[in-house]
Amino acid sequence: MIDFYLNGKRQRCNDVPADTSILELLRTRLGQTGTKEGCASGDCGACTVAIGEPGDDGALRYAAANGCITPAHQLDGCHLVTVEGLARGDALHPAQAAMVECHGSQCGFCTPGIVMSLFTLHEEQRRTPTPLSQQRLEEVLGGNLCRCTGYRPIRDAALSMNDYPDTHPLWADDPDLASNVAQLRSAKASATRGGHYVAPRDLAALRKLKAERPEARLVAGATDLWLETTQQLKALDDLIDVRQVAELNAIEETPQGWWIGAAVTYSRLEPLFETHFPAFAHLLHRFASKQIRNRGTLGGNVANASPIGDSPPVLLALDARVSLDGPDGERELPLSDFFLDYKQTALGANEFIRAIFMPRPDEAQNLKVWKLSKRREDDISAVLGAFAWRLDDGVMRDVRLAFGGMAAIPKRAAAAEAILEGQAPDDTTFADARAALAQDFQPMSDVRGSAEYRQVAASNLLERLRLMIDADRHATPQQEVTLHAYAH
């Protein structure tokens, strides 16, 4: 049974198949058709809903999610808010009122999703008002496509929403809502959940389940996995959800670095990255969309082992390690040993990823991450370059150049690295390194780019790196070497 609150009212849904999405549950089972399907692949945002979970202070925090690829079972113990739940009778929520007055809808099909994204922004702004920079708005709205308006009126709505009377939805009047939701969650903690969708609470339970049901698929944010059902029509009828496993949800800090639990979402990683890995944080802004980052996990990205996944090259450049766990115990290996071949990893049949270790960067370490894609927001990389190095007496040390999109797996450029290691970052050394990339990689042509483009672009990223090091070293009046929106 899925036991949750929908727009303030308790909902209990029995016999929901494991591979049902929130969108399907809403539209076909609960008759709530305000939430739309535009793609069923997480790309358009028409299905955006807000999922409320208790924060540290006990109050509910609302995060946008794509209803089309979020498992309905993940609603258990949550408060789901949909577009039907915002207005207070005839009085529109500020997000809605602003959209009407700014002429933010034309055909209106994207509108429910846009309104929900704006609702989550409004909630955040109520808690901690911050200036609405372009970047902030892009973060909130980058996952909502609109084919009609060209977005300008939507931007105006976002900017003016706070000028409207703060009409609360009716459910916000209920003082007990947050505690009721919290109660639902803790009640669940003791109950063992049966059926084909299980959500263990701790490592021991997960290990046990893995041993009992070796054929069950693991699911974290489902932002990769769910496409198998919506796009390829595969049945996902036996699932183990790792999102609630306490150990997989921890970020553990040690003097050497951080163990990031495999089920930690990107949104939760943002503050840590902002402080210690700004280049990675910058990448996150261009990683999928807010809806996806609220659900998707580093563990899922690594386990998925896509050659065009964004975090693996960065983690390779950072020399990350991965901890694998399972009924037979735990083991640790360098991430570079994890990826074996196209979508093949070192993960054993009944193993799972427990955590990923990110070494603490020392003062001198530099990191640059550049993602090339057709569209700046919410696109998959054609090529991604992640470069770590430090300058020691004018020569480059600990050079790690990792690329996505250049081979069957995320991979370091061994030949190019060897050329740069221990050398001054001058023209000729870099020219040799660029030439060596042809040895390191024989990329392929696909929908995101031709082999030739990938080769040229990857090589030019090294040139960009050289220009940047050069500008830093000589403290020349910084000539622009990247576009401002891509700089970090």
Binding site: T28, T33, K36, G38, C39, D43, C44, A46, V83, L92, M99, V100, E101, C102, H103, S105, Q106, C107, G108, F109, C110, T111, P112, Q134, L137, G142, L145, C146, R147, C148, G150, Y151, R152, P153, D156, L159, S160, D163, Q231, L233, W370, L372, S373, K374, R375, R376, E377, D378, I380, A382, D446, V447, Y453, A457, E463, R464, T482, L483, A485, Y486
Partner: protein, 820 residues
Amino acid sequence: MRTLTELSPASAKARADQQGRNKGDGPLARETSDIARQGAPGTTRAHESAVKHVTGRAAYIDDLQAPADALHVALGLSPVAHGRLTRLDLEKVKSAPGVVDVITIVDVPGHTDIGPVFPGDPIFADDEISYVGQCLFAVAAESHQAARRAVTLASVEIDERPASLDPVAAAEREEFVRPTHVQQSGDWQAALSGAAHVIESEQFVGGQEHFYLEGQACLVQPTEDEGVIVHTSNQHPSETQKLVAEVLDIPFHAVTVEMRRMGGGFGGKETQASPWACIAAIIARRTGRTTRVRLPRAEDMRATGKRHPFHNRYQLGFDAQGVLQGGDITVIGDCGYSPDLSEAIVDRAMFHADNAYSLGSARVTGHRAKTHTASNTAFRGFGGPQGMMIIEAAMDDIARRLGQDPLTIRKRNLYRAGRDVTHYGQPVEQLGLLHDLIAQLEQSSDYWARREAVVAHNARNPIIKKGLALTPVKFGISFTAKHLNQAGALLHVYTDGSVMINHGGTEMGQGLHTKVCQVVARELGLDLEQVRISATRTDKVPNTSPTAASSGADLNGQAARDACLTLKARLFDFAAEHFGADRGGLDREGMRLEAGALIAGSGEAERRIPWGELVQAAYLSRISLSEKGFYSTPLIHYDRETAKGRPFYYYAFGAAVAEVSVDTLSGEYLVDRVDILHDVGDSLNPAIDIGQVEGGFIQGMGWLTSEELKWNDAGRLVSDGPATYKIPAFGDLPPVFNVELMQGHPNSQASIYRSKAVGEPPFMLGMAVWSALRDALSSLVDYREAPRLDTPATPERVLMAAEALRQRTLASQEAHHAPA
């Protein structure tokens, strides 16, 4: 009206103020008193469904309630581009869980060809397979999921043949879906041989997926007689009615098509919405159950046609000033496997090969190449954009050749007195408007100062290059198929005074219904709230044209007005006699409907009869309160034999200035600023018109930049979803985006309140971005050359163009330094 662009929370407020100032400033709009309150044309009013949109109450097809036993249809699509279907074994499909019915071509009771204008579109493939995504069979099941899963169980055997995917090669082999058409004015050969300079070039202009957010969908209910009621997301209900009737082999009157709103259309639901309705209708009739179809995104993208990719060639002669003398232009439209609307689409590309410039003595040839892809179809601009790309490319080419600024060359070539007749013989009216508009934008955008800044920036920066461009638009308004330029409306006044208007146009977000309500409210002197519009239905207004060619408000607004005028005349006649009969009646002369009342006489003698009282009295006196209206566009004609005529009632104009920054190492770029000035005559609703201009521009920019359709060698579309096909997202909105409507130039033709169509023309403003990218690249070679930049100009294409320019510079430097 101006949109504000600063990122300050005050901007929306400032906007509202600004809008307040612009309320009703068209000369005709001032005629009535309290226009703002009445929401009459010329004023900004919210979309009629805005509140329903934001609350989720606006119902689209898949939101409609249906009986619990309604069937869900999934389609079996061809995995192969070309071949013969040798075996189609559906036994496993039929016995799959939940499956109720499976149909193929043999189950079609009536016509099997559903080609909209010309034959060539089988509802299901018979034996010839023509593209990947072609419909082979349909499955109806108890759930959407069950139907989709059952489809995968089919056993399909196809004797595969090589697929023809290159339109240029197809044209060389003369494989056309329709005959070639040629337009010619003057002696183009003499013009070429006599010209001081000649440029010769070619370009590939990519297609475009509509990506309406609501995919193709319909819901069909069987009726108690032999017919059906079809709810469909559809720009052309009358055509769907016809095709459904023909497929079922029943009279048209047995089919009713209803269409409340679309979640976007853009041309993609003009002809391409019918097949699903036909299929669902067959199943609904066979099973007696309500039947719904909804195409999953990837299938929608594979099965339906797109904007035509074009291959263009041009050879143009010009004088020392860069003024065109004439030349030869050839366009090859990639039509896909069948004619669909390609005849008119390639025509429109030819009609727009001049854009806003006189070609001089020119020949324009248009081929309709047949390839093994989905049948390409209408898309905002309807071939016009692809045609205009030629001359905009040429303007840049000429400027580089002569070392002039591209804007200088563009201005020199604009239609002007003495050079004001198009290559198809239509004189261009409102030349003053065109010239004023460009001059005004040149100023307001600060073009020349920014040109200097751009050049200075580029001299300092070897990697990041800026580009700037101003491109105009002149777009012909009317269907080029003359008979489509007609419209009907049905007006009912009920005894409480509320008004219902119905017309043949369809609402897809463009605000047509809002505008038509405004027309009616104005004519009847009522508040907008008193006028309601109902779903478009073929049993209310028959034999309608598609809502396309930007004509929605022009045609249906006039038809609605016609109905109002007739009703008004009747009410006036009635009132003149009925009211004040004791005093010899009311003065019929000068009688008017205003501010919720009928007003007769003026000054002391003024009499006001409240609308409600008027309506009551008329009803009791047995005066009809219902009226129909009709409109057909005057003046237009085109003779295909002579390739001359006046195909367009009028032209709409506009211009855009775009500034971009390009990273020439990676090919990435940003659109930094856009300024637009656009002509809508006297606006019917400035907010809606601005919405069309902005939305059109961004969509046009997407077409030329990030939206890349890719097929693999076997003819399968590989960019078949939003994960791989990238329409502009929020961050692609330029940080500075100034959009204004041109003021003070009412339409020179008697269009509805002298407004102009606005659906399509702004789409082509996006060309400014492409031209600015070319400008930035050109700086790599000191503006001596305009690089070829096919579209979409993805970062990949931009990078490869930059690399080619750099290689060439290196080579020429080496050649320069080489010992003699």
